[in-house]
Amino acid sequence: MFLHRFYPLALLSLILSFLAITTVNAEPVIDKPAPLFTGAAADGSTINLADLRGKTVILEWTNHECPFVVKHYESGNIPNLQKQAVAQGIVWLQVITSAPGKEGNVTGEVAQKLNAHRGATPTNTVLDGNGSIGKLYGATNTPQFFIIDPKGVLVYKGGIDSIPSADQSDIGKAENYISAALADLAAGRKIAKAVTKPYGCSVKYAS
């Protein structure tokens, strides 16, 4: 039964060749390097996160039709935070992950017009229609925020404030996590609340 010697080997090699490769979801972790990406920007340029080393970067997932985004833009809350952040020398990038045909999917031109109309002044807007950056960061909500320090380390992930609602009247009562983070950054402190619960609409991925 010489076959006995041959088959285990043959089978072993077969098994090895069929072994499924499990994909690991790289989720961003606080105090670990933030995942790097490049993406098309609304102004036609290409944004490479690695090029922004040396600057603090805020990623804001957005969808102009989502009622929670509307709440924080109409009230002036997010546009104010953007002004404040940019004045602090921070790069503020909106990210639009809505897939083509889904709510909030816009061209770069429309994205810029929307911002002008809303008095919003982010540094730029990244168009992520295929959802790759969204999935890289595990973005689930609009609005949702990630803050990356000048060394490229993730220092904040979470929501905008502490009261999950679509009512503008709640903004004044809520603890604003982003303005607290901006204050901590300005003072050179570690961000006190580095992880918070985001709330809002789901990010409109293709699938």
Partner: protein, 712 residues
């Protein structure tokens, strides 16, 4: 008369008016949701505790959210405005369901949900007055897009004297209570290790009940990753589900709370019930990973695994000779009519698929009868083993050229020059299936283990997929003449190879007789060998009289047939089919002990490491593994050094204890190798080893430190 009529008319108008008035207040609608305020009574007494609720009826594809909406969304909120002195409890949330969109997982409700709260009527409310209830309801309703909405609902209940019936209220209340999770009736615990959480629930019914799906819904955001897999398994009486810690993991003294749902297949279809759990997590050093393949395998991957398993079966020593005979026939005919080759390929495939359907059907029937069976179960019958031994021997004789039957049942028997007989190809397929059953190829174990827990249709689908895999290599070869041209040229070598291939068949027959000896005692060997002599005689007689005159031919075939019948009937009567007592075949030796559930649990209680080998004499893969790995000196030495007790369980004959143990690991057949770490090991859970072993693999499992030293 006229007066009476006008009174009735007035009454009707009044009723309509109040009805209309009520409708505008206790009900409200948006484009997506119809809401109404309901109560458990029609009237209240002072000091009553009643149930008040809001029913949301949601248009298709839209949903509202649970108290923890998951990755996005907002739970419904209800602000009750009640007379002074009333109190209102929290919303009693019905068991939610998962709503998944890409990487976003939400928890909520589709179609309909009723959110109940307890309301306490003040003790000092005056009888005869009214008890008004106002509810300000806010919800976020989403499909692809989300819309925040709010409605104001109100109704009024009369306050009546104690003793006057308060009425039945809305029938919806009762319906709503059935959708609520119940407190867990079972003992449970939560363990935490690194970023893995494991919930363990114990109940003796778990093994028997047909649990299809398990999911844990955490009450708070951040405690677990919502979109992560939740692998689960049932081993023994314990159900374990594993969760991944989320962005705001459990703090030291924080409890994990939520709803564990079990979906159970019953007579009336599958039913999901939620169980409320809340407990502190106990930190442990490790939580053994749950093999994602078993038992929670999805049909698609089971089908794929079965197909792969079927393909690999072709290489197993049981099937290879049969297959190579088919391949030889193909070489011979490579230059002939390709349509004929294609038909042969199809007939062969059909033969395999029909056999697998029969095998699957038989399994379903036996399973319905409550038998504990698995893959290769038919080899637990000594008669079947003898039958296959005879078959192997006959095929061997035919290959050796002792006899040939032109284009009849024995397709292999037909000489290679004989091109007729699609039935021959069909029965080669049947033969391939029969000889394949004692082999368990890689991938098959998980797929079959899954199939055996499934309803008949799914079981058959997996079996057919396995059969297709087995048929595939020859089928492909037969369908593409261009592939056939790459085969070596036909020649005398083919006859030599054919004759050579007779010897593996004889060897297989010898092995089966050995299996038989263990199943039915030494006398069965005499019967089997005697039967083989008669078979050989019949074959010789048939062949040598075949070419004679008609009468010689007839008498030769007659005598041959008669003696063959005698052999078969004699064997049938002679073999002792009473099943041997369990475990009788494994005798404890210096290197291993016979498995028994009692011995295993004793060793486990003592905290000793155990290596368990579940095997059967008719399982070739098992024997190979024992030869090349488990009986190697290095392995025996490693067992000794690591103080591992090596237990061997024999499934050669039917043994329900072992079948149950196999099922615990999601398997339906042997081999199964399990290493139970001892109390000193950092590992806690049993480790299932692959179905193909190497000495190194075994040593590394039982003595991780040893192999590391070796590597250095």
């Amino acid at each position: 008369m006229l007066q009476l009529r006008s009174i009735i008319f007035t009454l009707i108008v009044l009723l309509l008016c109040t009805g209309a008035l009520q409708a505008s207040t206790f009900e409200a609608s948006t484009d997506q949701v119809k809401a109404q305020l309901i109560t458990s009574v029609d009237a209240v007494h002072p000091g009553d505790e009643i149930l008040v609720g809001v029913q949301e009826r949601i248009i298709p594809h839209w949903h509202t959210y649970w108290v923890n909406p998951g990755d996005s969304g907002l739970p419904t909120t209800i602000d009750y405005v009640l007379p002074k002195g009333s109190t209102v409890g929290d919303i009693q949330w019905p068991t939610p369901r998962r709503i998944v969109l890409g990487p976003v997982t939400n928890y909520g409700y589709e179609n309909e949900v009723i959110l109940l709260s307890k309301v306490k009527v003040p003790d000092d409310i005056q009888v005869g007055k009214e008890f008004p209830i106002q509810a300000k309801v806010k919800w976020l309703v989403c499909d692809e897009i989300c819309i925040p909405q709010k409605v104001d609902l109100a109704l009024t209940l009369p306050v009546v004297l104690p003793g006057i019936a308060s009425g039945n209220g809305s029938p919806l209340i009762k319906a709503a209570q059935t959708t609520l999770p119940v407190n867990s009736p079972w003992p449970f615990s939560i363990a935490k290790s690194g970023n893995t959480l494991a919930i363990r629930v114990t109940d003796v019914q778990f093994k028997k009940s047909n649990i299809k799906h398990v999911w844990f819904y955490p009450e708070k955001w951040g405690k677990i990753v919502h979109n992560a897999e939740q692998p689960w398994k049932i081993s023994g009486d314990t159900l374990e589900i594993q969760l991944k810690s989320g962005d705001e993991p459990l703090a030291g003294d924080e409890k994990l709370s939520g709803i564990l749902t079990l979906t159970i297949d019953g007579a009336a279809g599958s039913v999901t019930q939620g169980y409320q759990l809340s407990a502190h997590a106990e930190t442990v050093s490790t939580i053994g990973a749950i093999d994602a393949q078993a038992p929670d395998l999805v049909l698609s991957s089971a089908l794929l695994l079965a197909l792969l398993g079927g393909i690999v079966l072709n290489l197993m020593p049981c099937v290879f000779p049969v297959l190579s005979i088919k391949a030889l026939a193909l070489i011979k005919h490579a230059n002939h009519n390709s349509i004929e080759n294609k038909l042969h390929g199809l007939a062969y495939t059909l033969g395999i698929l029909v056999s697998f359907t029969l095998l699957g059907g038989l399994l379903i029937i036996l399973k319905a009868g409550g038998a504990q069976i698995g893959w290769g179960f038919q080899f637990q019958s000594p008669l079947f083993v003898l039958g296959v031994a005879y078959l192997m021997f006959t095929v061997g004789l035919s290959l050796s050229g002792v006899f040939s039957i032109g284009g009849s049942v024995m397709g292999i028997g037909s000489s290679l020059a004989n091109r007729s007989g699609y039935s021959g190809s069909f029965f080669t397929g049947v033969l391939a299936t029969i000889v394949a059953t004692p082999c368990t190829a890689p991938f098959m174990g998980a797929a079959l283990g899954f199939a055996l827990t499934q309803p008949p249709a799914t079981l058959l689908t997996v079996f057919l997929s396995l059969g297709l895999g087995l048929a595939l290599p020859y089928l492909i070869l037969s369908q593409w003449p261009s592939l056939q041209r790459r085969l070596p040229k036909p020649g005398v070598w083919m006859d030599r190879l054919k004759q050579g291939l007779a010897f593996p068949m004889y060897a297989a027959a010898v092995w089966l007789v050995w299996v038989l000896a263990q199943q039915a005692g030494i006398n069965s060997v005499a019967i089997a060998l005697g039967g083989m002599v008669i078979i050989a005689f019949s074959a010789w007689l048939y062949e040598s009289t075949k070419t004679g005159i008609k009468s010689t031919q007839r008498s030769g075939a007659g005598v041959a047939g008669l003696s063959l019948w005698l052999a078969l009937i004699g064997s049938y009567l002679g073999i002792d089919t009473s099943p041997a007592s369990p475990l009788s075949n494994v005798e404890t030796s210096s290197t291993f002990e016979a498995y028994s559930p009692a011995r295993l649990s004793q060793l486990r209680t003592e905290g000793k490491p155990v290596f368990l080998n579940l095997t059967a004499a008719w399982c070739i893969s098992c024997l190979v593994n024992e030869k090349v790995a488990l009986s190697q000196d290095s392995v025996i030495q490693a067992f000794k050094e690591a103080d591992v007790t090596y237990l061997k369980g024999d499934w050669t004959n039917r043994d329900d204890e072992i079948t149950r143990l196999l099922a615990e690991f999601g398997r339906s057949g042997v081999p199964l190798y399990v290493y139970y770490p001892g109390k000193n090991s950092p590992l806690k859970n049993p480790i299932v080893l692959p179905q193909i072993l190497t000495p190194d693999l075994v040593i590394r499992t039982v003595k991780p430190s040893l192999s590391r030293e070796k590597e250095v």
